[in-house]
């Protein structure tokens, strides 16, 4: 008997409308855990990496982390894994809510969707049984309407992952949204997996389960969690009270906030007008909600103040969204940010990519690369607020012209606009930047350059650690570093990247770093849940294995050191104001140290010795 996992993955083929249980041996869980770890191993071994992202052969995987179903704090995360339709390299998109725990309750450790349906379909999973439901009557509906309608036709307690009109229309920046009727939404926004889901004509995956995952030593797990949670809650107070939006002023105060398409260093008054504390004082604030098993409760709801969905309630803007549609556009109007955030969620597009694309478009407009003729009459300018609503609607609905162009994401849009536009495109490997400036904390230089899915902040969270929220000693890093310096930054970033890989494999939210989680605590939780006897070093090594495994997927696709680059703007431009004024990161030195510390070749390829040490067969 196994504990903590079922040893079964559900494989669904939409082309033949068949399904089967795939048996997974325990050894694979021990080496790769679950989530994007196990997902990565299966993507490597079962699928042809050469097949285009938008093809029947590219799978769409819904992979709950290993600890889901166990009462470990924040063990709620599911990772969507596959080849990204936006970047055409390794893709993983993490989402909270209760969808992943429900997959576990249904008797599975993951769901792999292959093939492509001829007509819109819903996969309904109920306790290891699968039904295919015609989705033509919800095709075209937004995610809230979709979830409500389908819940009525399946089970009141079901959990839903679905796409909105953006995914249906194959917008490359489309997201997959998680809903359950009780709270608002959670988004798997990055990497464009909503587009792949739309390509497969899969409107939704609905799950209902009643099984209880066996835990090896519940008492030991509870003891550890009881010790951990109070400290976490003390440190996570701002997230508990105001959500991620409550941190925007702190981020601004350290020069970490992107402002005016990453060109300015401070925006104090604007940050104060668009923060969570301000939202909390308005009549638009509509409540709190938490993901499964999470004591932090960082989710906030908001009533939409203006626009086509005025009066409806949805998920309030997260930090990334408010920074993207606020500071990065010089828009200090919180009302318009709430409205465009809701459109992105309701129609299903990634707010980060959409906001960066709008910033790119404004700068192109300002420089004459786009005109009112290209934008259907919308005047693009810094500080635009209510005019963002029709623009974002055009992106989400793939309207011909500016909507379709920006929906392709920052990289492709800049290439199609041409000329100087590439200078204004803040992206790496096809994924635009999360809203943290590497000039503020230079561990993020190494991370953004090498993060496997592109310009992802979550693969290292260097700003989190350097900014005081997560002591470096938790990852056994004791060297003295400077925020804007280069000494020690490569090792710091590597240690963080390897550590962060464990979160996406275990299904833990990164915010529990505020509780100063360590490899030892993770080891205790894993062993209590599974009955294994992993050592701390084995847990650490697993993180390193997962990072290298994902790198090797990209290496097979031709990714190397030449692609580990940052936009010139983030490396060469002095923003002159704010706490990071004058910071010009020493990219060559940091990256030189990075490859050396990783034991990768000068071309950025993991060496044979390193792969052997990590037991990676590619």
């Amino acid at each position: 008997m196994s504990y903590g996992f079922w040893g079964k993955i559900l494989e669904v083929d939409l082309t033949s409308k068949t399904w089967r249980d795939m048996e997974i041996k325990e050894n694979l869980y021990k080496r790769f855990l679950g989530g994007s770890g196990l997902g990565g191993a299966l993507l490597h071994s079962l699928f042809d990496y050469k097949k285009p992202a938008m093809s029947e052969e590219n799978p769409l995987m819904f992979m709950p982390g290993l600890l889901l179903g166990a009462p470990a704090p924040s063990a709620a995360k599911t990772v969507i894994v596959g080849k990204s339709p936006l970047t055409n390299i390794w893709g993983e998109s993490v989402v909270g809510g209760s969808f992943g725990p429900e997959i576990k309750r249904a008797g599975y450790d993951g769901v792999i969707v292959k093939g492509k349906a001829e007509t819109p379909v819903v996969i309904y999973i109920e306790d290891q049984q699968v039904k295919f439901i015609d989705a033509s009557y919800v095709w075209g509906k937004d995610v809230y309407e979709t979830e409500k309608t389908l819940r009525g036709k399946t089970d009141e307690k079901a959990e839903t992952a679905c796409i909105g009109p953006a995914g249906e229309r194959l917008v490359p920046i489309a997201s997959i949204m998680i809903l359950n009727g009780k709270s608002t939404t959670r988004a798997a926004g990055r990497c464009g997996f909503g587009c792949l889901m739309g390509y497969k004509k899969l409107k939704a995956v609905i799950v209902r389960g009643t099984k209880k995952i066996p835990i090896y030593d519940s008492k030991k797990l509870s003891e550890s969690v009881r010790e951990f949670n109070p400290f976490l809650m003390k440190n996570a107070k701002v997230l508990h009270d105001y959500g991620t939006l409550g941190t925007i002023q702190a981020v601004e105060s350290e020069g970490d906030l992107p402002i005016k398409n990453w060109t300015l260093g401070s925006w104090e008054d604007g940050a104060a007008k668009t923060c969570g504390q301000m939202l909390d004082q308005t009549t638009y604030f509509a409540g709190h909600h938490a993901c499964y098993a999470c004591p932090v409760r960082c989710g906030k709801d908001a009533k939409v103040p203006i626009g086509p969905f005025e009066g409806k309630t949805g998920h309030a803007p997260e930090y990334e969204t408010a920074a993207g549609f606020g500071a990065n556009l010089l828009n200090d109007d919180l009302v318009s940010i709430i409205a465009v955030n809701d459109i992105c969620n309701r129609y299903g597009i990634d707010t980060i990519e959409a906001a960066n694309a709008v910033a790119l478009a404004i700068e192109c407009y300002e420089n004459g690369l786009l005109t009112a003729k290209d934008t259907d009459g919308i005047k693009l300018k810094w500080g635009m607020s209510e005019d963002l609503i029709p623009l974002v609607l055009k992106i989400a609905l793939k309207e011909e012209g500016i909507g379709e162009l920006l929906g392709k994401g920052v990289k492709t849009a800049s290439e199609e606009i041409g000329g100087l536009a590439k200078e204004f495109a803040i992206q790496t490997k096809g994924l635009s930047y999360a809203m943290h400036d590497p000039r503020a904390y230079t561990t993020m230089v190494a991370n953004y350059a090498t993060a496997n899915r592109g310009a992802c902040h979550l693969e290292a969270l260097g700003y989190f650690s350097e900014g005081g929220a997560f002591p470096a000693k938790c990852i056994n890093f004791y060297k003295k570093t400077e925020h804007h310096g280069y000494e020690g930054k490569a090792e710091y970033a590597v240690r963080l990247q390897d550590f962060m890989c464990l979160f996406n494999a275990l299904g833990l939210c990164k915010f529990i770093m505020l509780g100063h989680i360590t490899h030892e605590i993770m080891r205790d939780w894993i062993n209590a849940v599974t009955g294994w006897n992993l050592t701390t070093e084995e847990v650490r090594l697993t993180g390193e294995r997962l990072f290298n495994l994902k790198r090797m997927y990209n290496v097979k696709l031709g990714i190397s050191r030449k692609d580990d680059v940052l936009p010139q703007r983030l490396l060469m431009h002095d923003r002159k104001t704010g706490a990071a004024a004058g910071s010009i990161p020493h990219y060559p030195k940091i990256m030189h140290d990075y490859y050396k510390y990783r034991k990768w070749s000068n071309e950025g390829i993991p060496t044979t010795e390193k792969l052997k040490e990590l037991e990676i067969e590619v």
Binding site: E318, A323, G467
Partner: protein
């Protein structure tokens, strides 16, 4: 009892914790008061303070403050 008057700058979201929700605060404290006493007086959760500056230099929360000092509290950075 002798008192000292200290200017405290609350960076980032720390401005929301005192009764007067503003960045610049003037705090009157007893002689030999420490930075931690000012933090408590302002109702700022110590866990939200990343580091403390006095005249641009990092100092400890146990530092005794003098009349006319300017103390800056820098929040921890989280964000989504």
């Amino acid at each position: 009892m002798q008192k000292v008057c200290v200017k405290v700058v609350l960076r980032g979201h720390l401005m929301w914790y005192p009764e007067k929700k503003q960045k610049h605060q003037i705090v009157s404290a007893r002689k030999n008061a420490r930075v931690i006493d000012l933090i408590k007086r302002l109702n700022v959760p110590i866990e939200q303070v990343g580091f403390i500056l006095k005249n641009g230099q990092k100092v400890d929360a146990s530092l005794i403050v003098n009349d006319g000092d300017e103390i800056e509290l820098v929040p921890i950075i989280a964000g989504g």
